[in-house]
Symmetry: C2
Subunit: 184 residues, 2 copies
Amino acid sequence: MNIGKLITIWMADANDQLIKFEGKVTFMKIRSVNDSDYDIISPQINEWWSGRQMSDMLPKLFFTHFQDTSLIAEIEGGIVGFLIGFLSQSYPKEAYIHFVGVHPSYRNQKIANNLYRDFFQMIKKEKRSIIRCVTSPVNKGSIAFHKKMGFKIVEGDTLVNEVSVHLNYDGKDGDRVLFIKKVD
Amino acid sequence: MNIGKLITIWMADANDQLIKFEGKVTFMKIRSVNDSDYDIISPQINEWWSGRQMSDMLPKLFFTHFQDTSLIAEIEGGIVGFLIGFLSQSYPKEAYIHFVGVHPSYRNQKIANNLYRDFFQMIKKEKRSIIRCVTSPVNKGSIAFHKKMGFKIVEGDTLVNEVSVHLNYDGKDGDRVLFIKKVD
């Protein structure tokens, strides 16, 4: 691979007309978070969440004390996604994914998918076999994504748009969809 | 002790006039948190913090996944204080105190003091020797309390009211005073 270099690809279309593609080869690196990632990510969070006030939900402590289970996706040195997770200290077989974000310009490129897969691998090494996370019932994209990644919905109190929801479960906007995945 | 029973105490004042005290003997119990404590504490937090919007800063995950290092102070079955802490997963010698609150009617009764002392003991058993926490520069009561509990201030960027502050350290209102305590 010629990372960072311009490459040219010629293809023939249905009419045997030659089409030229020109572009740069990039690659994505996934690494652990560090303290200074907070200063880059925190000011962008509300924008990544389309204006929802979310940055207060992710204090710096997660970037300081849960570095080994939290991941950054980088392309050419720029942060394009992150996953903040930790090992449950109450439940020795469980891990928890608290916060996941992908830069709006880098959606639908399997970045979250890759972050989750790396997290699953890491969790297995830590001898944890259960992963939990929660999302808001309004976040249909998140619900679909978690189902695709093999998470099951933990049955709640009521159905909202055919999804089982735990009413008044957590602080902000209360209701939550709870997910669980076994990684054996 | 006659817990929960009315007792009477007679005392003489300076003029040998007898004064009668009547009251109930209560005691405080400190125990680990559980999931359902969240439902009791979360709706009270903004009130305990004199109207500051603080409840979003304490999502339920802390009551679920950090139960063994988080404490509830109870008097007669009612929650009068709590401490939410965890073991750092990045720094194997460190523990962190995230959130501490005392019911406004039970201030100045050494409840936070007792919660911290129990946390220190617990941390020693876990072979951790460093405790960190942060507070806002505006919270003068918290700064004085931590100094009294043996915490040192980690030197920051600037002085605010003669206290060393890390500017723009964390999300909400940015600036923070950082504390550290060694428990050997």
